[in-house]
Symmetry: D2
């Protein structure tokens, strides 16, 4: 979790998902709201909730933060029910924010279905093309609509929605953590590699919930049961859980390691391991890999703080509070005008001179993607009187695109692809610079676990999508918005 | 056109449509805005514009009046282009307002397509069911999505979009006036009965436009060319008009007579005839059918005024201004609370005592559907000192549901179905009451023309839809809205 | 009353006022809302309501129309009480809209006071200067704040608020219709000339109300009692009315004749006479003063319609419906961009060709101030095929500034000051042109009544203010607004 | 600075002030915006900016956060100028938020004046009464209006605005840090005790600024010059600073010690001393006063973190990250419904189990006022598996009301007044509890400085106001708001 994603040049997670299946009629809209609020860091562009009251689905989605999209009156319009699905989303282009907001609610031959999706299909284009050639129409540009179609097609011959999902999974390639709500069932499915997290919680008043991270469980007082296994389909119906494991144990588990480094909230447990501890460990590894003689260790708020504590503990160099972050971030138009990016950083982040002045500073950031922000932060420290600045990144170098649910799909913007270490040290104006090794990044959760480290190593667990062809017509559907 | 539709118990037209195809890149978003503004009386629940800039379609639709949905910044986001399609809509339930807003923009195998539709399919349910059985998914509950599918399916084998539309028309039953925008063509199509109006105008700066009514042409300075014939498909491409007449002259022309009586704006010409003159004639017929000895003829603003002038001219009884209508109607929450319906009428409509006091009054309204409003208006006149009140309705009695684009689909709410003339006279508190005869209503445009008068006569030009079956699951997709 | 004031080059009334004094605790906020809604034509820039619940005054004022400023939640926040004061306002500059919104609520030595004011002091600058020299501070630029100070100063030695008002009236010069609410009394006061209207109504559930026009009484079901006399102070306390007549009958009654011609709503009675009848009479006088051989008489909606009916009746030339006015005026940004003023008129007003084509038309407008709009309307008629256009203005020529509550304070913009009749005929593109004579304008209400006709004759009932000096510092307080 | 003030039972600072006086015409509205954004923690209820362009003052104030009240369009409406004054405000009742928003702009005999005020007069009621007896009217309930009057009265005979301010200061008692803008001067004044901070910065492009805290200087790149001395008046005119010291050194300097403990931002320097260091020192003193055998020291985010670091350093017990605070706080309606306060805390603050489980925890909070929040936080820790919880407050016990600019004016809500230490330990469910001693709180900035510690000790630097009399009439002016 990091504020920086709102302001700086960071990667963006695509989505957070949540679903509820209560034993009795409840205020599921509010439960969803609280859980999405806890998952807000996974997507700030749009939010949506679909409520199921005895088979009737009522939904609202819009562009904006959870507390901008929903208010008390809207939640009460969504009403009570036994099930609900919620979604927060980051999307790469502003024009499509409202159009692609989820959950997507569709009618099909056997009824109605709401889908919430976190991930990225690698065969989206092929599936879409084949569907179009059979006369399908698409309202959105999102791969969620493709998934809805594939499931619907399978539903024609399958005897149940879960069977349709299971059949569909043979056709879907890439990363997906799905929550699907039918009139009577809530179903969660995780792709066979398990790129994105998904877990199960038990609700205090009976019933179950699914969510991207455990912090969503905490927000509604639910108890963590277990993670959903890669390839697993979990069905919740009438207060009972069932599981389909047909797709399990067919591939090497490959959770995105960046969930630990940056995406997830430190108070979450992902696939059984504390994100906060993983980040502390990253800091400790850094202290071993790149030791330095210094007076104070500070972290870039908020996501560099955990690793800074780990670096401090391992190295014995005292931890200090380096910056005050203005907490009234929210919607400010300043960032949009971008009149002055320099000022932009300073407004959000002000160094505490008493911590820094005359000191040799170790500065821990969670990652260095494009390098613009870190350069500005280093300058803030220099201006505040730092004698030396040693930057340590708790992520390895970003060298390759990600095809599994984040928004870096080109090498052009990755600073580590373009410059040598010496050039980076000079460009960023630092005294030394160190990136966590790929070897150590796979040890953050203890030994023996496997990850997707494609963005660092270029080795992906499954084939990336083929290069995109340009279509005959320009087919951009955009939907302008009042903001 | 009538204000009353905003406030009282009136029928609601379903939609207004407009399309532009300019010779060169223009501010088509603004043209669309002006035209929709002129067609606002045809639908107040949602509005939308899709702009085509060299094959790239950008769209915005939302619940609200045209000037609520769009502002300057949104229009400039929609940008310039050579083509645009616009739509205003009335929908029967508030929950679906935003979901069903048009134009609908869909991607299909051969590109992208924007549809705007005025009318109502009578085989919507059958087509939808068949599509669902072939694995189609539906995002909305509107028959426009069905039309989009049918055209897309035909497009697979057709050599052009217009050919696909022509083939699709063999499958569509009921009322439809369509405007469809493909990457390179703007196409208008009217069902073979011609239930809803649709006309062609020539733009002052080159190019053509299509619109539901001629008042939209006037609003942008376009010249009226001609009406689109029932069954005709008109294609506008590269500044040229072409026509496909394969579906023409296959059925008896059956324009909805209520377009003349109530729906259309008086300054429009529908199928070649002035709406204002038709209404005056309705008043004149009423004077012949139901003469009365009286001192003054007044009309219920706004749509009763034309007929009142006609009644006055025919009868020789002086015309008077009976009411002041508060013109700051807009969005007032008063009507929504319905704290006091009595007060509601009085706030919108205040009698001018000097016209009424001590007088025998002939009061002309355009129609009497549920009877609630007219009863309140009669009471206003009595309170203002009217000696006698003789009500004349310029529409015949509403006795049958409409399946072709208005919102009366049950007899339960129609006052004329439930009571005898004597009962009505006593219930409304009037001295006499007269409805225009069905015979005369078909003469409003001159002799020899044919109409749909199904709502008055129960005789429909084509078969109404079969009674609806209840589906296995409740399938309501609703979408709540901030209002 | 005229829509035109929203769009065209018309005069603007400054304000409408209303006050309620109920026998028991009531929903006075809603009563005020309804009444202000009926008075909306007197001011569209800001609206406000102050509610008095047992001496505690709660108020809300803002820029906007009544139904924009208030919604259900705000009215319920204002709450119930026994008294309330409301105000709608037109102000000349946008920047000051919110700042100068009324009622003004002030604390003074003897408690609290809410003031609503319609009119214009002619000694505002002198009084303000004297107050400033005694150390007073001003939050607004409105003369209402001056009135509040003068009354407060008098209150120091007066034994009651009404005595303070009576003393203050010796110091106030110019036009004022005031409603003042103290903790326990509701007081109305009209300047000794009676420039602006003010009347008394009896509430259906007990108690009284004051209002600028009788249409506000109708909107809440109140019964008209009488007009407040020029110079009269009426006190309502504990359900009883009392009157102070010390300032009555000291001057010639001088109600603004333009209230009859244009400002007031046709359904109102002003100083005992029907506005609608006055306007009809203006049309009849015009027919006598400027007869013409023609085929049809039409009026510019809405305020030219009454006089057109009068002209038609007197001349025997048939009345026709000449234009359709788009009723969805509300807030449209079109007028603000002013991209195309020509288009602006056409969007609001569309001629009905069947009424006009090939006809010799008499066109009645309520007044011609700057001449821009009427020229465009004439062009619309020509384009629609009118053979001849004869314009008649039911107001005499505007030749002099008004100092008593309207916004024309310079001769520079008055078209009739700058051109001869021949020039006007040619500039407006008409076949003939006639203005009602000043002589006849004073006969609209019957013989023997006296008026202020200063704007036509240059003869004012009391001295106009001295020319303004420029102040040492630029002292504009402006307050920007979100709109 | 603390988030908690948005959500929990904390004290509220009344205001933050800022003023700019540039050498040349600049975008002072934006400068003000940035500075207010940095001072947002000092008041979240309303915000305002007044811009001075060559003597013409344009202002906008409203209820809301800085980035809610202002957007780009509003800032550009405020426009450029040479001077500006800004204000953020906390007010005790919602109804008065907009009414009392500052800067207050008033016209007086010598021109116009904008005032921004942080503090609280102790003789407000007396001054107001005397002014009312001389015929003054009050629009607000704020003591800022009283200050405006007192200065205006002095201005009548003073030869300059600064002389008037200097004379007025003899009449004003209590706490005030004022920024006043006249047509040509920007003036800052601090009361002789110096209760509230106020400092001077030099702008990068020439000219000076005044601000409550140095973090506002940082936000616009200004250089800290010095603090304004208690009693000092600083005038900035034509790029030059002058000082009036007539009121200096007449009283014992008495800056509010709570500015260091809680109000100010850690990155600010107040009267020459780092807030962050003061808080660390508070933690260190706590470790000496209340040592305990424990495994981890954690702080309540955000304002307990600094002291927790100090406690950890002094005691040698490792510092840990105890909680994740949801950073998307902003406007959420959750807190308003208060459906579940328990859930409320959990949604904002989630414990990191890996830090806490099985540990003996020292929990540092900045203060304990009403005790509700800390009890809930302790419960969160217990639920997360803490073996022991030892609470330490970096502020002494709150035992007395504050009359100098915070919102605690009664003993009724202060938990430490009502219970013994044993009762508190049991009520809060902790293993031990310790409050910083008053003696040590005065050593946070080094020895020899003097403070106001009235809220802890009951000994005030100057007399508190006399008890309030009830006024004859209920005189509440409230102004409802759309929120």
């Amino acid at each position: 979790m990091s504020d920086s994603q709102l302001i700086f040049d960071k990667l963006h997670e695509e989505c957070g998902v949540v679903g509820f299946c209560c034993e009795k009629n409840s205020d599921v809209a509010s439960l969803c709201y609280y859980a999405l609020y806890a998952l807000q860091h996974r997507g700030q562009q749009s939010a949506g909730i679909a409520v199921n009251d005895d088979g009737v689905i009522t939904a609202h989605c819009d562009a904006g933060l959870v507390n901008e999209v929903f208010d008390e009156s809207l939640l009460s319009q969504l009403g009570r029910g036994t099930m609900a699905v919620g979604h927060v989303r980051y999307s790469t282009t502003g024009h499509e924010r409202r159009l692609n907001a989820q959950p997507m609610v569709v009618n099909h031959v056997k009824g109605i279905m709401a889908l919430a999706h976190n991930g990225n299909l690698t065969n989206d284009a092929e599936l879409r093309e084949a569907l179009e050639f059979s006369g399908s129409i698409f309202h959105s540009t999102s791969d969620t609509e493709v998934i809805a179609y594939i499931i619907t097609k399978e539903r024609l011959r399958a005897s149940s929605i879960e069977e349709a999902i299971c059949c569909a999974m043979y056709k879907l390639a890439g990363a997906y953590s799905l929550i699907i709500m039918s009139p009577q069932k809530l179903i969660a499915a995780r792709d066979p590699y398990g790129f994105r997290p998904l877990c199960i919680g038990k609700l205090p008043d009976g019933g179950y919930m699914f969510a991207s991270e455990t912090c969503a469980l905490d927000s509604v007082g639910a108890t963590f049961i277990r993670d959903i296994a890669p390839g697993e389909i979990v069905i919740c119906e009438k207060g009972q859980l069932r599981s389909i494991t047909e797709h399990c144990n067919k591939c090497t588990p490959s959770i995105c390691v960046f969930e630990y480094i940056y995406f997830a909230r430190p108070d979450s447990y992902i696939d059984g391991y504390s994100v906060h501890l993983a980040r502390q460990k990253a800091g400790a590894f850094l202290a071993l890999e790149y030791p330095v003689d210094a007076d104070v260790v500070i972290g870039v708020p908020d996501s560099g703080i955990d690793a800074a504590l780990g670096y401090s503990k391992q190295s014995g160099i005292p931890y200090g509070m380096g910056f005050i972050k203005n907490k009234y971030i929210g919607r400010t138009f300043i960032e949009e005008t971008q009149a002055s990016r320099e000022r932009g950083v300073r407004i959000k982040l002000n160094p505490i001179a008493s911590t820094i002045e005359g000191k040799r500073v170790v500065l821990i950031d969670d990652s260095i993607v494009r390098g613009v922000t870190i350069a500005r932060i280093v300058k803030l420290l220099r201006d505040a009187g730092a004698k030396e600045v040693h930057v340590r990144s708790s992520a390895p170098k970003f060298l390759h695109p990600c095809y599994f649910g984040t928004d870096v799909d080109s090498k052009e913007t990755l600073i580590a692809c373009k410059y040598t270490d010496e050039e980076l040290v000079s460009m960023l104006g630092v005294d030394s610079l160190g990136f966590l090794s790929v070897e150590n990044v796979t040890k953050l959760n203890g030994e023996g676990k496997t990850y997707c480290t494609g963005c660092f190593s270029g080795i992906y667990p499954c084939p990336p999508p083929p290069p995109r062809k340009k279509s005959k017509f320009l087919q951009k559907i955009s939907q302008t918005e009042k903001e």
